[in-house]
């Protein structure tokens, strides 16, 4: 398995003096879907921004082995004046793809996330879940080898959230990108990932690394199995253990 993302001894101190991360060690191999859970303000988002190249590490080494990286934000971050399909096309426009190709890629990604029929709708006319689908479709247009997710389902209602988890799992299998997923929901992390990392409170570092054994595709009912509950319990304990 080749390594898509490697972080070695990564630290981040902001200009304000806030130490967000210290000595983070992290490997995401191709085919991995890794979730990071941690208390609010522990630097999870900073970790993701470092991986995306949106921030520079103060210390340490970051290596990304991916031609294309995608990023899904906490908010759908759609351009309000563009229709849903046109929002998905944006990435191709910015990356300078020829018109026919970016149309086709946008079309495919759009249909893939189950948005067919909503092409002409504007973001304001869509529900929260649909807006997030547009956002995910937009990230797929880049055909990423490394897909970064910054708590994308945090603002959704529970029912929509569970449905989106199933959808994302399907996409992960279909598109076989390596995923790094930030969340504050332990069941979400366990359900989606083959590895779950636990971060400490600020300054953030990784304090536990859990393997999730079940093969994909995972059924939604897995969430009610005793083994699943046992694992979420263990992750939760590791998270609590950080705050005695």
């Amino acid at each position: 398995m080749s390594k898509t993302l490697v972080m070695e001894g990564v630290s981040k101190t902001f200009a304000t003096g806030t130490v967000a991360l210290t000595g983070v060690e992290l490997v995401v191999a191709s085919g991995d879907f890794v979730s990071v859970v941690g208390p609010s303000g522990c630097g999870k988002s900073t970790l993701l921004r470092l991986a995306a190249g949106l921030e520079r590490a103060t210390d340490g080494r970051i290596e990304v082995e991916a031609e294309s990286t995608s990023y899904v934000f906490q908010e759908p971050t759609l351009l309000e004046w563009r229709s849903a399909l046109s929002n998905v096309e944006l990435v191709g426009e910015l990356r300078g793809l020829p018109k026919a190709e970016r149309r086709q890629r946008a079309r495919e990604a759009f249909d893939l996330v189950g948005l067919t029929g909503f092409e002409k709708q504007f973001p304001r006319q869509l529900s929260g879940g649909m807006r997030m689908r547009v956002s995910i479709a937009r990230s797929l247009v880049a055909e990423p080898q490394l897909a970064l997710f910054d708590e994308p389902f945090g603002a959704l209602d529970e029912i929509t959230r569970l449905r989106m988890q199933t959808e994302l799992q399907r996409l992960f299998q279909l598109k076989s990108f390596a995923g790094l997923f930030i969340t504050h929901s332990i069941p979400e992390a366990v359900y989606l990932s083959n590895r779950v990392l636990v971060m400490s409170g600020r300054p953030g570092r990784i304090v536990a690394d859990f393997n999730v054994p079940w093969a994909y595709p995972r059924s939604p009912e897995l969430r009610y199995e005793p083994e699943f509950t046992a694992l979420t319990g263990a992750v939760s304990a590791a998270l609590e253990g950080d705050h005695p």
């Binding site: 949106l54 906490q74 971050t77 351009l79 004046w81 944006l90 910015l94 990356r95 504007f122 304001r124």
Partner: protein, 265 residues
């Protein structure tokens, strides 16, 4: 069939009532408060209509003057819009440019036009050009500040999205900042349109060479105590302001509404 005119009456009724009351008060003041010798200060409405509004010899020069003022306002507004958007686009590029230029935009807004009149006269003459310059100075600031506000409205995440996809500065401006600014720009346009009318009339009164504008006429009528004509001219000038403002308010509603797809609902 009964419904629409009742609706119209209900919506326009209070406005018409207020107008009727105002005219009533007007008559009362003219005939009950003012004596015969002072009645010229507030001639009765029917006198205004008879000797001024319905007499082409009086009305035509006013319409000519109004046409000139409209031209001043339109030219001034167009220049203010172009300059305002351009300056905001320049300012949004870097914070130091904003810090360097914004204070002067504020100063331009607060400087009394009266203080600039002699200088403008020397530079641009006492005719059309100076009137337009006054108009631009008065209506420029809302364009700058509104456009700047709009250009700065995209969220940090939206900027990150553009950064991650390696957008050029030009792409960021054209695909993110300018489209995001459209509602704010139209809001500014509405304010500036109203101000450009004021600017045109103020410019008229200061710079009197060449053809006379509606502002100049107001001065002439005052000097000659032609109060009937003065009232008509004030009415026309106000109508011009309202019309100009309404055009841009309507434009604002239509375009900004469509911008976010509300029209498809």
């Amino acid at each position: 069939m009964r419904k629409w005119y009742i609706k119209l009456l209900l919506s326009a009724g209070p406005m018409i009532g207020a107008l009727a009351t105002a005219i009533g008060v007007w008559y009362a003041v003219t005939y009950l408060v003012l004596g015969e010798d002072r009645r010229f200060m507030l001639p009765p409405p029917h006198e205004v209509i008879k000797t001024s509004l319905l007499d082409p010899a009086h009305l035509d020069p006013m319409l000519d003057a109004l046409a000139l003022s409209v031209r001043v306002a339109v030219v001034g507004l167009v220049i203010a819009v172009v300059l305002g958007i351009a300056q905001a686009v320049v300012m949004v590029q870097t914070t130091w440019l904003e810090r360097a230029l914004y204070p002067y935009a504020v100063i331009l807004q607060t400087v009394p036009i009266l203080a600039l009149v002699p200088l403008l006269g020397i530079w641009f003459g006492y005719g059309f050009s100076s009137r337009v310059v006054v108009c631009v100075i008065i209506s420029l600031f809302p364009m700058i500040s509104n456009t700047l506000f709009g250009l700065q409205s995209p969220t940090a995440a939206a900027h990150d999205l553009f950064t991650l996809n390696k957008a050029t500065r030009w792409q960021r401006l054209v695909k993110l900042q300018l489209p995001a600014a459209v509602p704010a720009i139209f809001g500014g346009l509405r304010i500036s349109a109203g101000l450009s009318v004021i600017g045109a009339i103020v410019g008229d009164t200061f710079f009197r060479q060449g053809l006379v504008g509606i502002g100049g006429l107001l001065d002439i009528y005052t000097a000659r105590l032609q109060t009937e004509d003065l009232f008509t001219a004030i009415g026309l000038a106000s109508l011009f302001g309202v019309a100009f403002f309404s055009v841009f308010a309507t434009l604002d509603r239509i375009i900004v509404g469509r911008w976010y797809g509300a029209i498809h609902r």
